[in-house]
């Protein structure tokens, strides 16, 4: 199936109402494989939980879709995965897989395969027997088992360790063996817990591509957990960004970058992170400006929003307190009327990262050439009103995405 076909409709901006969470709930087509409906996870006393790890998490995953759960450690992504697998109970809410409710079923009955991050291979068996375990239990013919194991081992580059025992393997090898053991099975859903966290960077990028092709080729639905944006971007059709147990946004990698639903997603996604300035809107006879106040000796600056198309129902009004977000790549150096102090200038071989102090804030800019100014010198920069993001200061919700910021 084509991946494009399962992408969700574009999320609305502030017209969407209260929830910054954007899901494709309501898409109840037959192709929905996994459905989490307002799932909560508490640890400790239910009446007065010590930890509220996952808060009202809802998402739908279409058949054949690859979804990443992305977030920093402790954000609830692993708890969510383990609830789907059945290793953690669901405190509240429902999980449906392939049309049946699974949150009350024990793991064995869910028809889910899982690859683990850490030690999960059965020590008394060789890697080959570990991988083949489920196939043998399913009474597959020996030749067929061998063929499948060899194929998947070849894919993950673990042919040479098939005869070894788990205790003699490196972390990365164990991870790949665990991954192979999961992928070789037939299941309704494949859960991958940090599947490549212990691999060397080079191998990681090679395997990412292969795993993605394998998943697409076999039409496998999968949900994987990662804290690595690059991995999420490379593997996933859609990324669910989590923070503090709350799903912040679920969208395609491009959508997340161009139209972050809130300030958290905006600053979390992208490298180097988005620059954020506290600002306010000024209404000059129907002409909106973003005003960034200077601080002390540092001068502020103003951006004219006149040309920027605003979504219908937008609540952008003069006087509103906002956060101005500008991606480092959207800062043009050496022209325009804004002045700042160059704090650091690093040539990384193919691009330059500079840190500028402007309006009393530090701002990172990326340039694809060398920047000649010395550290300590004054530098001019400009921000295109078309390349900015605006977020409400109170709840961080996205108010506006400049058209150049998109795409």
């Amino acid at each position: 199936m084509s991946i494009e076909a399962v992408k969700p409709p574009s999320p609305g901006l502030d017209t969407a109402g209260q929830a910054p969470v954007i899901t494709d709930a309501g898409n109840t087509s037959a192709r929905t494989a996994l459905h989490l409906d307002a799932v909560d996870k508490f640890y400790g006393d239910p009446a007065n939980p010590a930890v509220h790890a996952v808060k009202s998490f809802s998402m739908e995953v279409a058949e054949g879709e690859i979804v990443a759960l992305l977030g920093s450690s402790g954000c609830g992504k692993t708890s969510t995965l383990r609830m789907i697998a059945g290793f953690e109970t669901v405190s509240r809410g429902e999980i449906k897989l392939a049309g049946r409710r699974i949150d009350e079923l024990r793991p064995a009955k869910r028809n889910v395969a899982m690859a683990f991050e850490g030690y999960s291979l059965y020590p008394p068996l060789t890697v080959r027997d570990n991988i083949a375990f489920a196939l043998k239990a399913a009474k597959l013919e020996q030749g067929e088992v061998d063929r499948k194991v060899d194929h998947i081992a070849d894919l993950l580059e673990i042919e040479t360790i098939l005869g070894k025992y788990p205790s003699s393997l490196s972390g990365g090898q164990q991870q790949r063996a665990s991954l192979a053991r999961a992928l070789i099975r037939k299941a309704d859903l494949y859960l991958l817990d940090e599947p490549m966290s212990q691999l060397e960077p080079q191998l990681r990028s090679v395997l990412r591509g292969r795993i993605k092709s394998y998943l697409i080729e076999h039409g496998l639905t999968s949900v994987f957990v990662t804290h690595d944006q690059t991995e999420a971007n490379a593997l996933a059709d859609r990324i669910a960004v989590m923070e503090d147990g709350v799903l912040q946004q679920i969208a395609s990698p491009a959508e997340l970058k161009d139209r972050p639903a809130n300030l958290f997603v905006a600053t979390f996604i992208g490298e180097p992170p988005m620059n954020v300035f506290p600002a306010r809107l000024a209404d000059d006879n129907g002409h909106l400006h973003v005003v960034v106040e200077g601080e002390g000796a540092a001068a502020g600056f103003t951006l004219d929003l006149g040309e920027v198309s605003r979504p219908a129902g937008s609540r952008l009004t003069g006087g509103a307190a906002v956060h101005l977000g500008v991606r480092p790549h959207s800062v043009s150096l050496g022209r325009g009327g804004n002045k700042g102090l160059l704090v650091s200038n690093q040539w990384l071989g193919d691009q330059t990262h500079v840190v500028i102090e402007a309006a009393g804030q530090t701002m990172v800019a990326v340039s694809y050439g060398r920047v000649d100014e010395q550290v300590g010198a004054e530098i001019t920069f400009s921000l295109s009103p078309q390349a900015i993001h605006l977020f409400a200061q109170d709840d961080g919700r996205a108010l506006l995405h400049g058209t150049e910021a998109v795409g």
Binding site: F87, A108, A113, M114, F116, Y119, L121, Y122, A134, S178
Partner: protein, 285 residues
């Protein structure tokens, strides 16, 4: 090889010899005594040269103890059998109860879990004399005194905490994801426990069982108070050698050799597990 290391080697060898002498000499001497008559044993000065006799062993095995004052019946072989029976049954029951409990304590957090586990452990350091009087009253009330059932029950105070705490440490050492991987492959919780958790914890279970067996074997005071002659283990039965006409050192020595042999053989055989199992249990428990 330089001088210091040679000196070191000599000193180390000397110290080792001293330690070995200190610990092994009594055993060696008892072994010799078991082949001597009472007269040989009490001779001054003691001598390594004597005419070995199997008389002591014959007396023990036949159950007739000859003293100057006349023949006495002793139930040594029966005591030995009681020891084997009581210790094995107690360890068996403790395994059936303790291993699943240890797994539960290792894997699941539940209300009062730690308190229950600790209470069970505290049985190990409570002095038995503290509970003996009430126990003997209860036992005679319940008809449990002088029964194997009663003794095995009381022996759980010794065996169960050991099994529970050592095996628990072992289960905690097993990555839960090994079990999770098996469960998600379509196997039930009970089958995962049987097929994955128990086999992986086997060295720990073996070490704990061995230790519990030795502790049960060595117990004296429970059986002394709660059982009569025909249910008593060797530890209590050995009292019979203190007779009206003096202590029968030869038979005592032979009895010691016979009663120590089973546990000694077991311990030698399972030494490896014992060290490994105990150190792991100690770290994780």
């Amino acid at each position: 090889m330089n001088h210091t290391s040679t000196a070191e080697r000599i000193i180390r060898g000397l110290l080792l010899t001293l330690v070995l002498l200190f610990f092994l000499f009594p055993i060696f001497w008892i072994f010799l005594m078991s082949f001597q008559t009472n007269e040989d044993i009490l001779r001054i000065p003691p001598s390594l040269f004597f005419t070995p006799t199997l008389e002591n062993y014959v007396a023990l095995i036949s159950g007739r103890l000859s003293t100057v004052a006349g023949d006495l019946d002793i139930a040594f072989m029966r005591n030995l059998w009681n020891s084997v029976l009581l210790s094995s049954l107690s360890v068996g029951v403790a395994l059936i109860l303790g291993v699943p409990a240890a797994y539960a304590f290792a894997r699941f957090k539940f209300r009062l879990g730690e308190n229950i586990a600790f209470t069970l452990l505290s049985f190990r350091f409570a002095p038995p004399l503290l509970v003996l009087l009430p126990l003997s009253l209860y036992f005679s009330e319940l008809g449990l005194s002088d029964t194997y059932l009663g003794l095995v029950w009381v022996y759980q105070l010794i065996a169960l905490p050991l099994i529970l705490w050592i095996v628990r440490g072992y289960f905690e050492d097993i990555s839960p994801d090994i079990e999770n991987a098996y469960r998600i492959d379509g196997h039930s919780w009970a089958k995962t426990f049987r097929k994955i958790a128990i086999p992986l914890a086997r060295p720990g279970i073996a070490a704990a069982s061995l230790l519990a067996f030795i502790f049960c074997w060595n117990n004296f005071v429970f059986a002394l108070v709660l059982a009569s002659a025909d249910k008593q283990p060797v530890t209590v039965g050995a009292l019979a050698f203190v007779t009206a006409s003096g202590i029968q050192y030869g038979q005592v020595a032979a009895a010691i050799v016979l009663s120590v042999t089973p546990t000694l053989l077991l311990a030698l055989y399972a030494q490896r597990y014992l060290v490994e199992g105990l150190s792991l249990g100690a770290v994780k428990g």
